[in-house]
């Protein structure tokens, strides 16, 4: 397992840092005493990377993503997004966020849902229409513009929510277990589509999951986390080629990375604690 990543896209000069976390800590005060959701997290994410966060529940992977998005405030350490504080980054609309649930507004049609961030950010009607058309095609939802969310399947709803996050062209895409509630077949399909989308848009993607195959299949970098306190136990640079058909998951290289992820999870004593 190499530490460098020769297969990553060529970057002119030194790679631009999108997310930089130094000694990041976050402690929730609860009635049962403080909960250390994040403790001493050090991580650098470069432009164009696909980073997966994997670990059992309570390891802080979602909290870390929410901290990047300025939905939670760190209690110690430093976090910079594109060289800005998370709040500044949020206010300059630096990222698109895809939640666990589609969170489409049921009173809006699919195209109106995709238009929601565009309306808030003040795009003109013409530009809104162009962007809706483009992103709907990008997630293969053309033809469903006038449907309401509750008329679509779960997989289509989640694709619509991805379209919504893509619509305003933020360079950073934060995805919090977006396919967690979907069945295996739909999930495989959406995973390969997500890779194509990543290749087409050149975005930086942070992806939270608790599925080892999903993490290995998608990522250029896998961050293994463990709970109590939530911390990073291993950072794995993937050696898989960028072109990844679904059957790459049977290759020895893929299985070797998956084994290392599993070892990392075990090293955190995470499952013994939880089960």
């Amino acid at each position: 397992m190499s530490v460098t990543s020769p297969n990553n896209r060529p970057e002119p000069g030194s790679p631009a840092v999108v997310v930089a976390a130094e000694h990041l800590g976050l402690t929730f005060g609860t009635n049962d005493g403080p909960v250390h959701a994040l403790s001493d997290v050090n991580l650098t994410i470069n432009k164009g990377e696909f980073v997966s966060f994997i670990g059992p529940s309570g390891c802080g992977k979602t909290t870390f993503l929410r901290t990047i998005a300025d939905l939670e405030q760190p209690t110690s350490g430093r976090l910079l997004i594109n060289g800005m504080t998370p709040q500044q980054a949020r206010e300059t609309r630096a990222y698109g966020y895809v939640f666990q649930a589609p969170a489409l507004y049921p009173w809006r049609t699919i195209e109106k849902n995709v238009a929601l961030p565009l309306e808030i950010m003040g795009y003109s009607a013409i530009e809104q229409a162009q962007r809706i058309k483009r992103t709907m095609e990008l997630v293969n939802l053309a033809g469903f513009e006038k449907k309401f969310p509750w008329q679509l399947s779960g997989g289509m709803q989640q694709r619509a929510s991805i379209a919504r996050a893509l619509a305003f062209d933020a360079d950073l895409l934060l995805m919090d277990e977006p396919f967690g509630a979907l069945d295996e077949i739909v999930r495989d399909h959406l995973n390969s589509e997500l890779l194509k989308l990543w290749a087409a848009t050149q975005k930086t993607i942070c992806f939270v999951t608790h599925s080892i195959p999903e993490a290995v299949y998608l990522s250029t970098k896998i961050v293994v986390m463990s709970p109590r306190p939530g911390r990073v136990t291993d950072i794995i640079e993937s050696t898989l080629p960028l072109e990844r058909p679904l059957d790459i998951r049977e290759t020895p290289e893929f299985l070797a990375i998956a084994a290392r992820v599993r070892d990392g999870l075990r090293a955190g004593h995470s499952y013994e604690d939880v089960v």
């Binding site: 998005a69 939905l71 949020r90 507004y105 009173w107 961030p117 808030i120 509750w150």
Partner: protein, 363 residues
């Protein structure tokens, strides 16, 4: 044929047979129609040998209704077989509705869904009419519906003036002001925890005030005309709107709010694009509750001093003059106006909250 239908048919036919036998005591030519109905009802017992369409039951019930109404004038005092015919009519109507409902459930009589409530309503009116007139119920206790109707038609100008005074002025003005104020205060309360701590208990306090107590005071404050009644309506409608809107504004899920935050949306964008649409089902609940509360409030408030017009005024004075039929006419008008008001709001609700699971299930 279900067990219930079996016994209904048996009892209705048997009753007709007994009534027919009793009716031979009178000369043949009196109440001929009634006797024809009883004979036909008796013959309907043949259904246990031959199939009888459910529409035949409906037709027999309709004939019974006409015969009983016609017999009212001819037979005085009403003999036993007259009352048996009335009960048999009711049983045939019941049997008809029972069979029609079964046919609709089985998909054999689609499109007749409105017939069932219609038959029910007509049956109630028929019973009311026949019992009050046939048994000579004093008009003060309960006037027959025909008398109420005649009175209603005869006093249309009075009723219209009362309707204008109470509904078009007091109710609508008070309703709009009360709902708007409740809504506006809910937005303020939601914005500031300080106001929430102060204003919600006051709203609660206002709603707990007895309407009987505040109505005379409002008359002192705002005069005898509709303004004082509108003030009572405002006091009544304010609180349901306040409470419902406050909970409605919290109806949006945390994930939906987080989404707005990731867009760096400001307060007003979040309010108009997320929280108010999510609150719409709650707001419409308040509007529906208030539509009936407002009418009650305005009518009761008019008991405590009013110019010589208005639905509440008319009810209180005409009761004193024993014009009970006019009181019933006012009640009928209030019921129709209240239902129509509610219906209009429910219709608007369905078109606005079409996305809500409670609405979108229905076609």
């Amino acid at each position: 044929m279900s067990q219930l239908q079996y016994y209904l048919a048996l009892v209705a036919g048997g009753l007709c047979a007994a009534g027919l036998a009793l009716s031979f005591a009178t000369p043949l030519e009196t109440a001929l129609l009634l006797k024809a109905f009883l004979a036909l009802g008796f013959l309907s017992l043949l259904r246990f040998a031959l199939p009888l369409s459910l529409w035949a039951d409906g037709a027999i019930a309709a004939l019974g209704a006409v015969a009983v109404l016609a017999g009212l004038a001819a037979l005085d005092p009403a003999p036993a077989f007259f009352w048996m015919a009335l009960i048999a009519t009711w049983l045939f109507a019941w049997l008809f509705v029972e069979r029609l409902a079964a046919a609709i459930r089985a998909g054999r009589a689609t499109g007749f869904g409105m017939v069932i409530p219609l038959v029910f309503g007509v049956s109630i009116l028929l019973f009311w009419e026949v019992v009050t007139r046939g048994a000579h119920v004093p008009q003060v206790i309960l006037p027959p519906p025909s008398q109420v109707w005649t009175r209603l038609i005869a006093s249309l100008p009075t009723l219209w003036a009362d309707f204008q005074q109470t509904f078009l002025k007091a109710v609508l003005a008070g309703y709009i002001m009360g709902c708007a104020a409740g809504f506006a205060v809910a937005i303020l309360v939601d914005r500031s925890p300080f106001l929430k701590a102060g204003l919600l208990p006051i709203g609660n306090f206002v709603s707990a005030l007895p309407i009987i107590g505040i109505a005379p005071i409002m008359v002192m404050w705002f005069g005898f005309d509709w303004q004082s009644k509108a003030a009572v309506v405002v006091a009544m409608t304010f609180f349901p709107m306040l409470v419902n809107t406050v909970s409605g504004l919290n109806a949006a899920s945390s994930i939906e709010r987080d989404l707005m935050r990731t867009y760096a949306a400001n307060y007003w964008q979040t309010l108009f694009k997320l929280r108010l649409p999510a609150a719409a089902p709650f707001i419409f609940n308040a509007l529906k509750i208030n539509s009936t509360l407002a009418l009650i409030g305005a009518i009761v408030a008019e008991f405590f001093g009013t110019p010589i017009v208005g639905m509440g005024f008319r009810i209180s004075t005409e009761v004193g003059r024993l014009n009970i039929d006019l009181v019933w006419a006012e009640i009928a008008m209030a019921a129709v106006a209240g239902s129509a008001f509610y219906g209009v709001i429910a219709l608007v609700e369905r078109s606005v909250t079409f996305w809500h699971p409670s609405v979108r299930g229905r076609a």
